[in-house]
Symmetry: C2
């Protein structure tokens, strides 16, 4: 999901870009670009731009096809990125001599994906009673089964420990766990976000992309001061300019999306698409409200516009968008800096070459993991409305023993009588006993 160019790139700073020992050579001839290199650069720029649009187009198509296709896309990305990150841990290539190393890494990914997607599968199967009844034991012990699978991997790993490679193998094991935690578990929040409404999946990703693009634009035109040693092409001007633009974009874009039920409703099912007729009671944060302006602002506006404006109509979610935008432009880039640090640690330029002109998949997604985790936590903490429903409570009621059921019934009855909800006539009297 790329920006047009590397975030905040600045042609004035570009010459400094180097890896490892080549820095001094590059710095020795600033500003002078050989013709051959220039042609190559332009070709790369074109390739990059074309593939940016290909990716953005693909992204919109996947979203239009609904939750199932988005989940499949996220799964593919998790596998690709995990592969790219894990492959780093086998530098130097000693691991080729070690048996099972690749299979084990794949196995650990499989365990975690089984654990994470299993929960969603259960949610989806609730609509298929026959399947649910037969798979019930599997779902009831889902955590136990997943943990047992992990234990198998753990015992397997310990059994393959080989003299002379202990330190290397332990390092790989730690790296695998970090990749699982930072890449797979964090990106799983994207899936969680889909179930709250595609909005919560789409907005964070869009904000990071917009921030990428505008940090580049501001850096290109105004960039003078280097932001961080790790990424020499990023500038303070790009960081701040991109940030402000992203916040304005987030505020406006959110208002545009808020009336589109396909986007703001929690998906009623996994096979919903953009053509489905989606209906729901939208979360109240999407409903416009009038906010009274402070008198000073009213006075100012009246002086400038010669109109008296005392209130503005804003959707509360727009204020939340400002907060999420601020995160996307101020903190999420540190995910990218971290990825740069990893690349420098392993002395590589890109994580891979699967996207022409962009490098590896990880290079394009480095800021998206932390963004997904943040937006999910933010949503859960500040936006989610209580999900208690009559149906769920009634199910829990059924699980009580007979005497507890009566106790709850009497508590509720007493409460409703006290509050006056149970006025005469609204509730039919209990029927006469059968005996």
């Amino acid at each position: 999901m790329g920006g047009v160019s590397k975030r905040g790139s600045n042609p004035n700073l570009r010459q400094r870009k180097s890896l490892g020992g080549s820095k001094e050579t590059a710095a020795a001839a600033p500003g002078i670009v050989p013709r051959e290199e220039s042609t190559k650069k332009w070709r790369n720029w074109w390739q990059r731009t074309v593939f940016t649009f290909v990716m953005i187009g693909g992204f919109f198509t996947v979203i239009a096809l609904g939750p199932l296709s988005i989940m499949l896309m996220v799964l593919c990305l998790q596998v690709l990125i995990y592969r790219e990150v894990i492959s780093l841990s086998s530098v130097p290539k000693k691991e080729r001599d070690l048996p099972w190393s690749r299979a084990m890494n794949a196995y650990f990914l499989g365990c975690l994906e089984y654990y994470l997607y299993g929960q969603n599968a259960h949610r989806a199967l609730k609509r298929h009673p026959w399947l649910e009844a037969h798979l019930q034991p599997v779902f009831a012990h889902h955590t136990f089964i997943s943990f047992s699978m992990y234990l198998v991997g753990f015992v397997w790993f310990v059994s393959t420990l080989r003299k002379g490679y202990y330190r290397f193998q332990m390092g790989q094991f730690a790296w695998t766990h970090m990749a699982l935690a930072l890449v797979v578990m964090q990106s799983q929040f994207m899936i969680e976000n889909i179930f709250e409404g595609i909005f919560w999946f789409f907005l964070p990703i869009a904000l990071v992309i917009v921030n990428d693009i505008f940090a580049y634009v501001f850096g290109f035109f105004f960039g003078r001061h280097q932001l961080i040693e790790l990424s020499p092409k990023k500038t303070w001007e790009g960081y701040i300019g991109g940030g402000l633009t992203t916040m304005v974009f987030g505020f406006v874009f959110t208002a545009l999306l808020s009336d589109w039920k396909f986007v703001v409703c929690p998906p009623p099912n996994l096979h919903m698409t953009v053509f489905s007729d989606v209906q729901c009671d939208v979360n109240p944060v999407f409903v416009p409200r009038d906010y009274r302006l402070p008198p000073a602002v009213t006075a100012l506006l009246s002086a400038v516009l010669h109109r008296t404006i005392t209130t503005v109509t804003i959707r509360p979610v727009q204020f939340h968008s400002l907060a999420i935008s601020a995160f996307a432009s101020l903190i999420a880039p540190f995910g990218g800096f971290f990825a740069s640090g990893v690349k420098r640690a392993f002395n590589i330029k890109d994580f891979g070459n699967s996207i022409p002109g962009h490098g590896g998949v990880t290079d394009r997604f480095d800021c998206q993991f932390i963004m997904a985790a943040f937006s999910h936590t933010y949503y859960s903490s500040f936006i989610r409305v209580s999900t208690v429903t009559v149906g769920a409570l009634f199910s829990s009621f059924l699980a009580l023993g007979a005497d507890k059921q009566l106790e709850l019934y009497r508590n509720i009855q007493e409460y409703l009588e006290t509050t006056g909800s149970l006025a005469a006539g609204t509730v039919p009297a209990a029927p006469a006993p059968a005996s």
Copy 2:
């Protein structure tokens, strides 16, 4: 929590024990122990035995003092073990030159402990309405606050990345995450287990200790065949003999504990001690049941004992204990092998020297983490009874809107009428309207 000696140690194999390059030298003179070394060995043995009893005594005292003291003990252990494990990642000691490295590791531990213990604190504060009301915003956003704290650490880490140390720093970061996941998060399950009843905390730990001791005893007397290259002193004989003993112990010990309410009841509060009068409806797994023996077994017993025994009285929890014992003796030792692998990777003999004769705290607890995680998962999957209570359901009922409240009331009323629970006379008629 120590065994009397290293698990499954065998004096016949002991000479082989060596680290790094000294293996050949030791193997060259099997069975010959210089006098000085022998004295040292005996002193070590005494020290080890004394401190084993000191630890077991301390362990029982802490348990007798109840949940709060157990939680404090676990917290202390987490901090000590985390320190021991983290200190490995700064071998070689380059890190001394890097600023903030120690502070950052402490900070990440602090974030995770805040997250984990914060949840328990909330549970405890439910009994103090004034405090709960004032801290409500903190608890309502607990996950968000904890995640923000982690993000601060993440940005801090990225900001301290220093040229020339990238690979080293990234390795440390990965190691920190693995220590947090494998040590702190796994041992947190011990705390979770306490809240289900001290039994679920005590039994797994006791099983590992018993297995340690008997694997040593069987290895000492019968050990001939080395179990795993990683730990040369462990033998197949110790592994199997210890395992069978542990299963018998688990089966019997569980029956002995099952009538002691201090142990089997979920603690009513954190300051309960062994002297408190604890009452509860015990989980049905602790209640003895009669199991009919297969006819063949009855016939066999009648032939041998000249008595007709058709049923045996067993508590279901004893069968669960067998499963947990099997894990404690077959899989949990791999936690110890893993710890051996780590020690060999870093070419150290022990994780520390805080327990005289035993090495570091980690050396004594290496099998307990995975055991705690397993027993918690096992409990949640196979033993926990639904925790739905009338009080919790009523709270959820109060969170509904007025019309939903009435809807639920009518659903419940209709159900109770259908099942006949609401027979005439048992339910008072709704009072006459006030108007």
